[in-house]
């Protein structure tokens, strides 16, 4: 019993001590808890006012504290103390998934004693999503065990949504970047690729890795790299944007053309970069190149055709001119009636042929823009009447009447190109007559309008001929097109006439219209604006009866390779009583001039061995001044304004176009025998004659020299003497170079004289000598130089006389 009691007591003691131990342990835990809770308790107000979720846990993950911000409901805040996470999440409706993550991170924090951080996505019972950033801070006590764990949470919903949106946008952009067919790249300001889209990779046949980090110019053909480095990169740096076409070589060496538009993107705090957006336009470029090439080929072909036609016409014209020339000579011989008729037919046919080849040449001139227009005053009614007159005979032959109804005042004088008016009118009238078998042709002329000093003249040519069908009417102005393809077979012609008319009228500022009814007739209406001229028209020179024998016996050299022309010109000249020698080429002509003496040379421009221009230059360089100064008249088949300057520049005195017209040739020869610029200038002759006009002016001004002399009269005299001694020699040299047309030296001599004249203060020549220097140097206005140099001669001679009288005589 006693023993039993002892056992019970012992057990009780044991139990008591165990209980006491437990109680002490509990006590300790409680105190510890209190220690932790106490600050929480003390600072609960502070914690509750922090705008963040704050929770305090025991190391066993039981809630010890939850602030206002973390849990709005006060009841829950009370309840939660001592509860587990799982419980709280269930009760507060956050769901099991949230709890599981919280438990996971908590265990991590306990295990590692390291802070943990994660984002939590919670959908509340109203369905609203909130995001929180949660952070666990394990609080260790000194012995290394855990006291508690603090959890801080922030609401990052707004930021999170923004981020999500950004992410979404970025995703869209990425998809755009990846799936877009346009070539997109990003590169830095040095041209290094930072990223490229798949389309770019496909286009360039490289993988993304092969492209990024490399410089764009590494993929360019070598000759284009500098352009990229020195043009594109500076441009984009400066202007922030650049566009253009880039050529790139693909991995397989294919050349790619990219049309790009790139812009710099500035990002704060980071290197700016460039977004490039390009399109592969390789096919377009090749198509363009192909088109350009085709265009060039077509143009060349067309140009070759035009040139061929022009050359052909030119070639044809030479023999026709031969035929006409010989016919002319033949007509001067005694002929019987039949022969005269035949000859007339030959002449008519040749004339027609000439018209055709002239038409082709005119068309070529119009197309190539070489057609030149004159500006002459003329009486318009006279001009029109003369043109109509020339058709009356042909019209009468066909039995067609020509009626001229004019309302323009007969004495109206206008300024314009009378030849082009004739050409147009002739063309239209000859068509009218050609295509009219019976009936009449009415020509009506009137003034359509006046405006200040311009007037528009209108001319209507109405015929009763075959007309033009409606569907062809638009085509008749096209070159080489006739109203009906059968027309050329029946009526002949080149189909150029109306095209020329239309083009000429357009050049003149006028217009050409046509109305036509097939088989009833056509009406052509053209108008031309003219400037009204006050005063008289430049009347055609009254026909002068030329006395072809007036020049007497002259020796003329004809340099011409065409036998026909040789023959014609030789006969003409011989009929004037000239002695004629013939040279077949330039070299022969040069030799003959050196060996014989002639009064004049007729020089064909185009000759074998040495052409006329070269020959002329060589003649002008001959040492013998008389031979070098011989008058030379160019004979040429092509005269345009530019050509004539070439002839004069080469040293020719005049030029005539072939076919050679007897009267014109005679006049040209006559003029050049008399002309001052062909004869060597004899200074003495000029000077004795011209002293009078300058008699009363003082021509010099010695103030420069006097200023330099500092009052030394002897010095002044010495200078004047020097001038008188040296200048005449200079002048003579100048004159000699003028005679030989050595323009280069003329310019140099004028330059030399310039400073001398300036120092003597000869102001009346100040400008002239400069003009001579400049004109001779540039080969411009050479025709004015003889007169200017003549003036220089005269003034200097007079000046010398004055100096002798006024300065040197003062002894």
């Amino acid at each position: 019993m006693k023993k039993q009691l002892y056992v019970v007591q012992k057990a009780r003691k044991k139990a008591e001590s165990a209980l006491g131990k437990k109680t002490r342990e509990l006590d300790l835990a409680h105190r510890q808890l209190l220690q932790i809770q106490r600050p929480a308790g003390r600072h609960a107000t502070v914690f509750n006012n922090i705008p963040a979720d704050i929770a305090l846990f025991s190391p066993e993950h039981e809630y010890l504290f939850l602030n206002n911000h973390a849990e709005k409901e006060a009841a829950l805040r009370q309840w939660v103390i001592g509860e587990t996470e799982e419980e709280y999440c269930r009760v507060s409706g956050k769901g099991l998934a949230v709890a599981i993550r919280r438990i996971y991170y908590f265990s991590e924090a306990v295990k590692t004693k390291q802070p943990q951080e994660w984002e939590e996505k919670v959908r509340d019972n109203k369905g609203k999503l909130t995001y929180r950033l949660l952070r666990l801070h394990p609080v260790s006590h000194r012995k290394g065990g855990l006291n508690a764990v603090i959890r801080v949470g922030f609401d990052i919903t707004a930021k999170k949504i923004e981020e999500d949106q950004l992410l979404q946008t970025a995703k869209h952009h990425l998809e755009l970047f990846n799936h877009c067919e346009a070539l997109i790249c990003i590169h830095d300001l040095k041209g290094r690729l930072l990223s490229v889209n798949p389309a770019t990779c496909r286009c360039m046949e490289y993988s993304e890795d092969e492209l990024t980090g490399r410089f764009i110019y590494d993929f360019m053909p070598e000759n284009r790299r500098n352009e990229f480095k020195h043009v594109y990169l500076p441009a984009i740096r400066q202007n922030k944007t650049a566009g253009g076409v880039l050529s790139i070589l693909s991995k397989t060496g294919r050349k790619i053309f990219m049309l790009f538009q790139n812009a710099v993107v500035d990002v704060e705090g980071a290197e700016p970069y460039v977004i490039g957006f390009s399109l592969d336009i390789t096919e377009r470029i090749y198509a363009e190149q192909h088109l350009l090439y085709s265009k060039k080929v077509t143009e060349q072909a067309s140009h070759a055709k035009e040139t061929f036609l022009a050359n052909m016409s030119h070639e044809i014209r030479t023999p026709i001119n031969g035929i006409l020339g010989i016919s002319g000579l033949l007509s001067k011989t005694p002929l019987n009636e039949l022969q005269r008729n035949y000859l007339q037919l030959i002449q008519e046919s040749s004339n027609n042929l000439l018209v055709i080849s002239n038409d082709v040449l005119d068309m070529e001139k119009i197309i190539s823009g070489k057609m030149q227009l004159e500006q002459l005053g003329f009486k318009i009614v006279d001009k029109i009447a003369i043109n109509i007159q020339s058709f009356i005979y042909r019209a009468e032959e066909k039995g067609v009447a020509i009626i001229f109804q004019n309302t323009i005042p007969a004495d109206l004088v206008v300024t314009g190109d009378p030849f082009r008016l004739s050409q147009v009118l002739n063309n239209i009238l000859s068509n009218a007559i050609k295509f009219t078998e019976k009936g009449n042709i009415i020509i009506t002329t009137r003034i359509r309008s006046y405006y200040e000093c311009t007037t528009i003249i209108e001319c209507i040519v109405k015929d009763t001929g075959i007309g033009i069908s409606e569907n062809r009417i638009d085509e008749i102005f096209e070159p080489f097109v006739q109203a009906d393809p059968s027309t050329s077979r029946k009526y002949g012609g080149t189909g150029l006439g109306l095209a020329i008319c239309k083009n000429l009228l357009e050049m003149l500022g006028g217009s050409l219209q046509v109305e036509s009814v097939e088989s009833k007739g056509s009406t052509f209406t053209f108008s031309i604006p003219y400037t009204l001229t006050e005063g008289n028209a430049s009347e055609p020179e009254p026909p002068v009866v030329i006395d072809y024998l007036s020049l007497g016996n002259k020796k003329v050299l004809v340099a011409e390779d065409g036998e026909l022309n040789q023959f014609i010109v030789k006969h003409m000249l011989e009929s004037w009583g000239f002695e004629v020698s013939v040279a077949a080429d330039g070299m022969e002509a040069l030799r003959m001039i050196q060996e014989n003496s002639y009064d004049l040379v007729l020089m064909d421009v185009q000759m074998p061995v040495m052409d006329g221009l070269t020959t002329t230059r060589r003649i002008r360089q001959l040492n013998d001044q008389t031979k070098a100064g011989i008058p030379i008249i160019a004979l040429t088949a092509n005269v345009s304004k530019g050509d004539s300057e070439n002839y004069i520049e080469a040293g020719m005195n005049d030029y005539l176009s072939k076919p050679v017209n007897e009267a014109k040739l005679f006049k040209a020869i006559e003029k050049n025998f008399k002309g001052t610029n062909t004869k060597p200038i004899d200074m003495n002759e000029i000077l004795t004659g011209a002293t009078e006009s300058f008699h009363n002016q003082r021509l010099y001004d010695l103030s420069t020299i006097i200023a330099v002399s500092g009052g030394d009269e002897e010095f002044v005299k010495k200078m004047v003497k020097l001038f008188i001694e040296t200048v005449p020699a200079n002048l003579q040299e100048l004159n000699a170079y003028l005679n030989t047309r050595n323009w280069d030296m003329v310019s140099k001599m004028a330059h030399k004289l310039k400073s001398t004249l300036d120092s003597m203060g000869i102001d009346s020549l100040r400008q002239d000598v400069r003009t001579v220097e400049a004109s001779a140097k540039r080969n411009e206005n050479l025709e004015n130089l003889p007169a200017l140099i003549y003036k220089i001669n005269v003034v200097i001679k007079n000046c010398i006389a004055q100096l002798e009288n006024e300065v040197l005589a003062l002894n």
Binding site: V708, K718, M719, T726, S755, T756, D758
Partner: protein, 124 residues
């Protein structure tokens, strides 16, 4: 530049009247003036006997211009002081100065001789 009261002056000018005018202007500065009408002749003398001052017309008889003569003379005496005359204005372009070396430029006008004397006497 060495100080020299009586500088040796070479003048290249193909116009005799100008030669006289220049001589008249410069006689107060120096009694050592040599005249040449072309660059080649002047250059020959430069090689034999160095001048202090070169007065050059731009346009000269012979093949060399004034500037060519200057350039050739400088290869003999890089320090020679030069004045270039010309009727054409503005020969003293940057390019010319680089190509032919430093020189003073006087445009030929009424007062160019006076200016020539001024410009040379300011240095001597």
């Amino acid at each position: 530049m060495k100080q020299n009261v009586n500088p040796r002056i070479y003048v290249v000018e193909d116009n005799l009247i100008y030669q006289q005018l220049i001589e008249k202007e410069l006689e107060s500065i120096s009694d050592f003036i040599r005249f040449f009408t072309n660059g080649e002749a002047c250059l020959k003398m430069v090689t034999a006997d160095l001048p202090d001052v070169l007065v050059l017309d731009y346009n000269l008889e012979g093949e060399m211009t004034g500037l060519d003569t200057l350039k050739a003379s400088r290869s003999v005496n890089p320090d020679v002081y030069a004045v270039v005359f010309s009727t054409q204005p503005c020969l003293d372009t940057h390019n010319n100065l680089v190509a032919f070396g430093q020189f003073d430029f006087i445009e030929k006008t009424d007062d160019s001789f006076y200016r020539l004397r001024e410009i040379i006497s300011s240095r001597y």
